[in-house]
């Protein structure tokens, strides 16, 4: 094992310093910050997984999940471990909430354990902001309600960048349950900041109000929305956040919004397919496309998740110290 981080070559970007000690949202982030995070993540992604990247030994991370998650939780854990940090997983789905403990009490209990970083997933939009206000450690938003999922957007961007080479000017169509999707919001903010042309495609019942004001074009027909697209990004139908009035049935959804060969033929012939997972085959995407290794980047997305999260955890470590030293 070689400690590669100590042998900096000209091509290895240095750890990023952010303007905030937290990563709560993509909205408001600078283009340069995003670029630096992606460069650093790109570097981590290129490393042999046995390379010694254990630069954060003694750094304590709490992975606090108030909502079910497998891929995000494991991805963060793996990123933390590859950096040599101590990571503890805490699942609080219904537990303290059901016991009547307020979120703030939970937060101050966790704070008393003096973590360096808290990774939070919560079903309520804005909850990580509350943690950031009351805890004295860095916070990463691992998905809050319908608000944002910043690390997902960063890993999506890295995935696209590694495949296509750049983001600026790309035509990217985000399709599906936009209204309930934090992934969509983070991606919209990130991709528009990076200069991509973002389109959103959804039935009007799943299109949030005044979405155009976020700098995107809205479409209600797949063929129009993905016409000449370079990237087709699909979203999961979040039935758990619906009331039965948004979508008549899965088969109707598939007919109009599910990605199949026919609809995809309207996109750029090299267009790639992405999905943040977990995906519903035959609802959002035809199985054959999901498994098409030439066009589907779904597995690469998962892989890039670890690299991106390493880059962010490392950056927050640097940033936090910068803040404390002030």
């Amino acid at each position: 094992m070689v400690n590669v981080l100590k042998n900096k070559s000209k091509n290895s970007p240095s750890p990023v310093k952010l303007s905030s000690p937290h990563l709560l949202a993509i909205e408001g982030m600078q283009k340069s910050e995003i670029e630096e995070l992606l460069d650093r993540a790109d570097y981590f992604a290129n490393l042999d997984k046995h390379s010694n990247t254990k630069i954060l030994s003694g750094y304590v991370i709490l992975n606090v999940f108030f909502e079910n998650s497998t891929r995000t939780r494991v991805s963060f854990e793996l990123a933390a471990r590859r950096l040599g940090a101590e990571v503890i997983n805490i699942s609080l789905i219904n537990s303290s909430i059901k016991k009547g403990e307020s979120l703030l009490d939970t937060a101050s209990t966790l704070n008393a354990m003096r973590p360096d970083l808290l990774i939070v997933r919560h079903p309520h939009s804005g909850a990580p902001l509350l943690f950031a206000d009351y805890l004295n450690c860095s916070i990463i938003n691992a998905g809050d309600g319908r608000h944002e999922h910043p690390t997902q957007a960063l890993l999506d961007a890295l995935t696209i960048r590694r495949r296509v080479g750049f983001l600026e000017g790309l035509k990217i169509s985000i399709c599906g349950d936009i209204a309930n999707s934090r992934v969509a919001r983070s991606n919209i903010h990130l991709l528009t900041t990076m200069g991509a042309e973002v389109r959103c495609v959804a039935p009007p019942t799943l299109m949030p109000s005044s979405l155009e004001n976020l700098g995107v074009k809205c479409f209600y027909k797949m063929k129009e929305g993905i016409k000449d697209a370079d990237v087709v990004m699909l979203l999961r139908l979040q039935n758990e956040r619906m009331s039965g009035t948004e979508n008549p049935s899965e088969r109707e959804y598939f007919k109009f919004f599910g990605l199949d060969e026919n609809k995809l033929s309207f996109a750029n012939s090299n267009a790639v397919i992405m999905h943040p997972g977990p995906m519903n085959r035959g609802v959002e995407i035809a199985s054959v496309l999901a498994d098409d290794t030439n066009r589907s980047l779904i597995k690469t997305q998962v892989e890039m998740g670890v690299a991106v999260r390493m880059s962010i955890i490392e950056a927050l470590n640097h940033t936090k110290y910068k803040f404390l030293k002030k």
Binding site: P123, G126, G145, R146, R185, S209, S210, L211, M242, S243
Partner: protein
């Protein structure tokens, strides 16, 4: 017995359009003289006389706050004590508190319990329907005999059209208004109560999209108002819309009033002072019902105040404990305190030259009494000495830590105006130290 003389005070009586610098003398519980020149003859015998130098100060009728929500955590007497310090001499409380004000004996009980000649007078609205389902009408007549001044389901709308029709018909027989929280709660997602993740949380629009919060479309308000106006037309009832918050709501009310229907409405300071952009940091002190709307809506509320479409301003006081507000936005309680900020936020409309002083005073004093057909002491000779004295130009900053009720959506706001004294039935229920210094020795 003592005489109290307020020298050179600007008496502002919106009922008689009287607005002049005068000397006011009170004796026992009565105003015995309001005159340009000090009326020496009014003071008889060798009684003690207290002179206040009120140069630059204004005397007006006591504030009538027609919408106060006590909830269950608040103590009625404590609220009265806070209200009196803020110039509120009379307030009307909503029925959806614990216990629910849905029968004559509880209404009688609340009024007796709160009776105190030194404190704010408490009146009550009766619950329009017997329970939360809103399907059976309450004993409007009996509650009315016990003093209920109107009927409402508080912060829930009266949803069923047939029930609303019957309520209006019946209430018109006993000459009482039906007060509606106008919101189509299906549209605002509030009836989907089984899961919090689809409940409306804020105004629907770009901001709700950015924040990932569930939007309540502004048409949820006007749809209910439009339906109710039809029913008011059908039944001839007096229909009152509480806390109007949207442009469309104001427009529809304006038209109905032009038609000559017996319709009145009020709004609350947040709806003419703030807009939805305040929510951008997920600050739960702005989580209100109805939600803060767009700036266009806010300006329409101001227009409605200017042209008289909106009759009154109420505090819409709904104090909440800090515990229920230090929560993620979706989980936080709805509502904010208002009795401590009602006065100077209303006065802000005068300082911004939107309405004149007399109009502003009317909206928080005489207009609510007209709507509810209640009698409050007028600022006239031989009337009961219930009034406020204030400094219109006293500059200060609202500080949430100095307020007795929480939360406030106005923390940090620079305002002008301060209540210096509240007299009730001739009693100096509240005298600010600033006024005490103005006693002429």
């Amino acid at each position: 017995m003592t005489y109290t003389v307020f020298k050179s005070v600007q008496v502002c009586n919106p009922v008689t359009n009287f607005n002049e610098i005068s000397d006011v003398i009170i004796h026992n519980d009565k105003i015995i003289s309001i005159s340009k020149k000090f009326n020496k003859k009014a003071i008889k015998g060798d009684n003690k006389v207290i002179f206040y130098d009120c140069n630059g100060l204004i005397m007006a009728p006591g504030i009538v706050d027609m919408r106060v929500n006590l909830g269950k955590t608040e103590n009625l007497e404590l609220t009265q004590e806070i209200a009196i310090k803020n110039g509120i001499t009379s307030m009307v409380i909503l029925p959806n508190q614990t216990p629910k004000l849905n029968n004559p004996s509880i209404i009688d009980h609340i009024q007796r319990q709160s009776e105190n000649s030194m404190l704010t007078k408490v009146r009550v609205y009766g619950a329009a329907t017997k329970d939360d389902q809103g399907l059976e009408i309450s004993e409007l007549g009996l509650m009315s005999e016990m003093g209920a001044v109107g009927f409402t389901n508080g912060n829930k709308s009266i949803k069923n059209s047939l029930v609303m029709r019957r309520l209006m018909s019946y209430a018109s027989m006993i000459d009482r208004p039906i007060i509606q929280h106008a919101e189509d709660d299906d549209l605002s997602g509030l009836t989907q109560a089984s899961t919090t993740s689809i409940k409306g949380e804020m105004n629907e629009g770009e901001i709700s999209t950015r924040l990932g919060l569930i939007g309540i479309p502004s048409c949820a308000e006007v749809i209910m108002i439009e339906r109710d106006i039809r029913l008011a037309e059908l039944t001839g009832a007096h229909y009152h819309i509480a806390h109007v918050s949207t442009r469309d709501g104001v427009d529809v009310i304006r038209k109905a009033k032009k038609k000559g229907l017996n319709i009145t409405c009020d709004t609350a300071p947040p709806y003419f002072s703030l807009n939805e952009t305040s929510l951008l940091t997920y600050d739960t002190s702005y989580k209100l019902s109805p939600p803060l709307r767009t700036d266009e809506d806010r300006l329409a509320i101001i227009e409605g105040i200017q042209d008289g479409t909106i009759d009154a301003i109420a505090s819409d006081h709904r104090a909440r404990s800090k515990d229920t507000k230090i929560q993620p936005f979706s989980a936080a309680s709805i509502g904010a305190a208002g009795i401590e900020t009602l006065f100077f936020l209303t006065l802000e409309l005068v300082h911004k030259k939107i309405i004149n002083l007399s109009q502003a005073i009317s909206m928080i004093t005489i207009n609510p009494t007209k709507i509810l057909k209640i009698k409050e002491p007028a600022l006239l000779e031989n009337e009961t000495a219930t009034f406020i004295i204030f400094d219109k130009n006293y500059k200060h900053q609202i500080n949430k830590n100095e307020l007795k009720t929480s939360p406030t959506p106005f923390n940090g706001r620079q305002v002008k105006g301060k209540i210096l004294s509240t007299f009730i039935n001739g009693n100096p229920s509240y005298v600010n130290p600033i006024l005490k210094e103005k006693i002429i020795k």
